[in-house]
Amino acid sequence: MNYFPDEVIEHVFDFVTSHKDRNSISLVCKSWFKIERYSRQNVFIGNCYSISPERLLRRFPCFKSLTLKGKPHFADFNLVPHGWGGFVQPWIEALARSRVGLEELRLKRMVVTDEGLELLSRSFVNFKSLVLVSCEGFSTDGLASIASNCRHLRDLDLQENEIDDHRGQWLSCFPETYTSLVTLNFACLEGETNLVALERLVARSPNLRSLKLNRAVPLDALARLMACAPQIVDLGVGSYEDEQDSESCLKLQAAIRKCTSLRSLSGFLEAAPHCLSAFHPVCHNLTSLNLSYAAEIHGSHLIKLIEHCKKLQRLWILDSIGDKGLEVVASTCKELQELRVFPTDLHGGGNTAVTEDGLVAISAGCPKLHSILYFCQQMTNAALITVARNCPNFIRFRLCILEPHKPDHVTSQPLDEGFGAIVQACKNLKRLSVSGLLTDQVFLYIGMFATQLEMLSIAFAGDTDKGMLYVLNGCKKMRKLEIRDSPFGDAALLADVNKYETMRSLWMSSCEVTLGGCKRLARKAPWLNVEIINENDNNRMEENGYEGRQKVDNKLYLYRTVVGTRVDAPPFVWIL
């Protein structure tokens, strides 16, 4: 059926890189399926338990890059107990046994071990890129293996992982002959760093583009590093601690001025606010600024910095910026596409300085805004309606009102209308997180209007099963649904079992589903893994014979899979 030889078709396929598009291509005909199979370079697996490494290798024998995600999203908030799963070891072992020429491994929310990293470093001659996000289970010894053995390593990117820092010499494990480093991010390491080894490494890495330091790198070392790497594009400053020594500051200023390629800045964990001005000369080029860990930077220093950043596309900030600060952002950063405002006070008792006014100001001032994560104490329907009108282009809209069940603080009404306006206006909305006082009505709106919605996070919302049903019935493109502390039960869970085959996963914790309901679901849908995470280690549920009517006060996590029950579940996880 092909009018062209396979090689030509394959060449055309090379231009198609998105996973979804490649999946679509493979469905056209047998011949395209085969060609696509052998030419797929990048494989993305959103749930490591949906498939096995063996089946992956059978389908795509020639891939070079693998992305794997393990634990469910709510694991980020401590809702998934330690030991639940997401182990990367079997994957590394299977890939090592095969002949696949792995070059890149990207893991998110997985458990990685030093043994695994050692095996990885020894098994793939052309290994180039390791990206670990929110992972745990390994130490700097594992990093030492990577540094020692991966001769062609380009990227070592560690984002917000829990790493056991043995304060060892992993940085000096990079051989003297090794010069190919492009990305080095070790901001999440807590211990001391061998500064001499670091400086030598940076000095011999002419291709270094992204360097993110941890808090143990002082100002004078930073100045020397920047002087060695003026080509840097992405810089994470580490602690930036106050040095009384003004000479360091001067050296830093001189080094910074030479960094004309700098586009992205982050870090400042312990920042000396008055030294921030050293960065003003490069601010006009910045497209990305992450000050969300910079608790010490606020007020006028922060404002002055932002006023220089006219080209900013991405801004991550703490709520100490205040509504006034957000107004400055709105009037300065006309290119802004993504904004995240994180809470400073994590125990929700204090005052946050951002309110609905800040959000409205941003929506009015930044026409290109498409992604927002906003933590605040209060919200109104009127504000949300205005935001929807100003910004119909949202792709991601996540609003977290810190106090659960909080209504519109002016009218005391639920926030159904506000969120309703958002989903109605934003026709391309793919991700939504709702909060505040919400009834079933908001879910009616979501089901009706959010036709492109792929991920929805619900907490402390809704009245009856109808809420969940509106969403399941309406959102045809739903992939990930995560619900906590909401009164949805078995009726909603079981209404349309086939729906779950079209989704990656469903999470429900502290809702009204019962063990009996979950068992019925598991029976009806053998293609699903229905897991109950039961944090108490004894089986009192079954013993007491209440199982049918018993609420699953712990957690339900279900996901589609083609490989059946997983074998690595700990005893507190029941797979029904």
């Binding site: 809702l79 964990l269 969300s292 860990y293 010490e296 006060d553 700990p570």
Partner: protein, 229 residues
């Protein structure tokens, strides 16, 4: 630390009350009370019989008493109640912000540490800031791992008595489990030597060691304390 004492026993309720969730009867149209969703797995303060294993009728009746004293108004939650996983901020961020904010009051930040017990199949994680003293911590730990510990002596459950130093030194080898912790310098120390606030500040990780492993621990810990003072 918070107005959550009244909800402690909910957690041990047999038929419906597995920890971590709301056990209110399923009346539709009622908003889940904010306070009812507080997860108190880690904060069992008043459990006299907890060490025996099966908690039964006393607890159920106690719960109905406690329930009525809980605030149910969803719009006015107790100011300091801590809900697990809320606000939805990564624990990585919570820990980093905690150590960044030197000037903020300690109540605003979290101090999550891993807790392991030799022989137990999985670890736990707790926020040290949720406790005000070694006693509270001791209670919480013994409840968390109650199914694993088998006390040699009567009702004492094999957990070391923090407050009695002499007992610590004399009997450490006869206890089943000794709580130790890793401090900021990477050293393993015996729990209980330093003032509570200092402990919260310096503790990175907790380990309940088998008594026999802990014999050598105490003398070094004493020396370290002296050199610090």
């Amino acid at each position: 630390m918070m107005g959550s004492v009244g909800l402690n026993l909910r957690e041990t309720e047999l038929c419906l009350g597995l920890p971590g969730g709301d056990t209110a009867s399923p009346v539709t149209g009622t908003k889940r009370g904010f306070s009812e969703t507080v997860d108190l797995k880690l904060n069992l303060n008043n459990e006299p019989e907890s060490k025996e294993g099966s908690k039964s009728h006393d607890v159920v009746s106690a719960i109905s008493k406690e329930k009525s004293s809980c605030p149910k108004d969803p719009t006015k939650p107790p100011a300091k109640a801590q809900v697990v996983g809320w606000p939805p901020v990564r624990s990585y961020r919570k820990n980093v912000m905690g150590s960044c904010q030197k000037s903020s009051s300690s109540a605003d930040t979290a101090a999550f540490v891993k807790v392991s017990m030799d022989g137990a199949p999985y670890l736990r994680k707790i926020d040290l800031k949720m406790y005000k003293s070694y006693d509270e911590l001791s209670d919480a730990l013994s409840n968390m791992f109650s199914s694993f510990t088998m006390g040699k002596n009567g009702g004492e459950e094999g957990m070391i008595d923090f407050m009695n130093e002499r007992k610590v030194m004399d009997t450490v080898s006869s206890w089943d489990y000794v709580p130790s912790y890793e401090d900021k310098d990477g050293d393993w120390m015996l729990v209980g030597d330093v003032p509570w606030p200092m402990f919260v500040d310096t503790c990175k990780r907790l380990r309940l060691m088998k008594g026999s492993d802990a014999i050598g621990l105490a003398p070094r810990a004493m020396e370290k304390c002296k050199s610090r003072a």
